[in-house]
Symmetry: C2
């Protein structure tokens, strides 16, 4: 039952293929909005072009428990990078309720001081209901910022649950920010924050408890040393006062070197590229399923399921046979 005729697309105007640049914030913002809205017209034209133009930015994810001072540290790091003449984009993946779709934009407000700096671009991206969807649109936004020519792209995510794992897959380096109030090692392990760090940063390093946390982190990473693996450093900072940013950036540079120069680092970059491919495929399949789901035939199957004429597995069998090809 394959359709042989090619769909009539020739009448449609050719997609505008202008690539975004960091100098044009409005164009860039519009593009990110289209990406987040999962605008499918981007797929055949602009996304492959962005993929080709990207790969030059230094991408860093910054995560940590709520309230630890991520936004403050990012503001501080942005300041340091600006002084060094680098352009910086910040993509804040906010924790948001899958129920309301809303996002708490406080972090964005705190970054307002950079609103007039042409070399800084800040974007707050509400996460959507589905984890996979978040990752994919964040990936494409990151790719767009990279292709736009920013020297550094920082991705801020809340260290709760799955999000930081999704982010880790998208960036070269993951910074986990903790504070003396973040709890002990057991709690951090439970929160899943220990294994994702390439660099640990302890904020509010002047407060009691931070030295003990630093010692605990260093003891923990030594347990995983060897085999050519990267050993995450643990650095003290005082984000509010801007202290420790130079050391942090140096640690990030060392990790960048590890990624390009060591076999383990190169393997990780290769795996990331393959994962990207897999996720693109997954989204395409999800789309096919979504098209099928809206069809009259699928509605009939769903009605039979609701009426308990068939069980969910029999219903799945029927729908699977109806699934459209590419």
């Amino acid at each position: 039952m394959k359709r042989k005729k090619a769909p009539k697309k020739s009448a449609r105007p050719v997609q505008n293929l202008e690539l975004p640049t960091w100098q044009s914030k409005a164009t860039l913002a519009r593009l990110l909005s289209r990406i987040e809205a999962r605008d499918l017209t981007l797929r055949k034209t602009l996304l492959p072009a962005l993929a080709k133009a990207s790969g030059n930015a230094r991408t860093v994810g910054i995560t940590g428990p709520p309230g630890v001072g991520k936004s403050t540290m990012i503001a501080s790091l942005v300041g340091h990078l600006r002084k060094a003449g680098k352009t910086v984009a910040v993509l804040a993946v906010d924790p948001s309720s899958p129920f309301t779709g809303g996002a708490l934009l406080g972090d964005r407000v705190r970054m307002q001081e950079y609103a007039l700096d042409a070399g800084v671009f800040i974007r707050s991206s509400g996460t959507r209901g589905h984890t996979g969807g978040v990752a994919l649109s964040t990936r494409e936004c990151l790719m767009a910022l990279d292709a736009a020519g920013f020297d550094v792209v920082l991705v801020e995510s809340a260290g709760v649950g799955q999000t930081e794992w999704d982010i880790r897959k998208l960036v070269q380096t993951t910074v986990v920010l903790l504070g003396p109030e973040s709890g002990d090692g057991i709690q951090l392990m439970k929160a899943g924050l220990m294994e994702i760090a390439d660099v640990f940063v302890v904020n509010k390093a002047d407060l009691p408890g931070s030295d003990r946390l630093l010692a605990e982190l260093r003891a923990w990473v030594e347990g995983g040393a060897g085999g050519g693996h990267w050993i995450p450093p643990a650095l003290p900072v005082q984000a509010q006062a801007g202290r420790g940013m130079e050391e942090l950036w140096k640690a990030l540079e060392t990790h960048a070197k590890f990624l390009t120069e060591s076999p383990t680092g190169r393997d990780r970059q290769r795996d990331a590229r393959r994962l990207e491919l897999l996720e693109i495929l997954e989204e395409r399949l999800a789309e096919r399923l979504s098209i099928l789901w809206k069809s009259a035939k699928a509605r009939k199957v769903a009605a039979d399921l609701t009426d308990r004429v068939i069980d969910p597995y029999a219903a799945a069998d029927r729908l699977e046979r109806l699934l459209p090809r590419t």
Copy 2:
């Protein structure tokens, strides 16, 4: 290029179709292990049979921030239900690191007192790397426990990130357990715990701060009242002392009645059934992708991608055309 020949399956011995019963814990435990291992031989035979046999258990999800006393409250609720002559299964979906695959089994240990009670079955299920995978295997475990004839199935999940949303889709009623130390409403909203509750329970109700939290929760739910929606009650308990369990069970019974008797409740059950179908389909597609991913042709595409001969979107185009049919 469709294969016309039916696959030769007749030589294989017919799958043992004995359904699990709550009386046979060892059989049940083995079945759950096979489900968690994603044993595909279950799919054609046992899963549809389980689907037909299930639908009689009262299923309740219990979530909340780490350390709030979920396991203690569950132990206490189990005690109350046992006294009322009900059989109970507890499925603990532990927070686990996607990196190590390990799970912290402390909760399970705390439930040991019920190990010798024939009417109680406790299972700790480590969550796997992928959120979707968790939900599906938990769904099937829940279905197996339901089909086995337990009167009540309690699902415990850590209230961090995505997991509790996954659980909410699987159970009839979701209990969110909080404590006076859980923080204020803003923090709870950030943690995404407010919208998923059908019943709020405040543990350690004898401690200062619990009255204020109860008042805050009640004010919050009233904001969402109207339109035939369920208004989540907020109940004080002292789980350690076993206080408040009768009131909690009554609230759960009221919610069960709402689900079967109100139009909104019935809609919710219908939507849950459709979502289940969609998730079964999603897993099947993921499997097809996984088969393709291991093929020699896919390895060639991945190699071209690694060598940057093609970009990820071109690679996805090529793989999409190679995707096997059912």
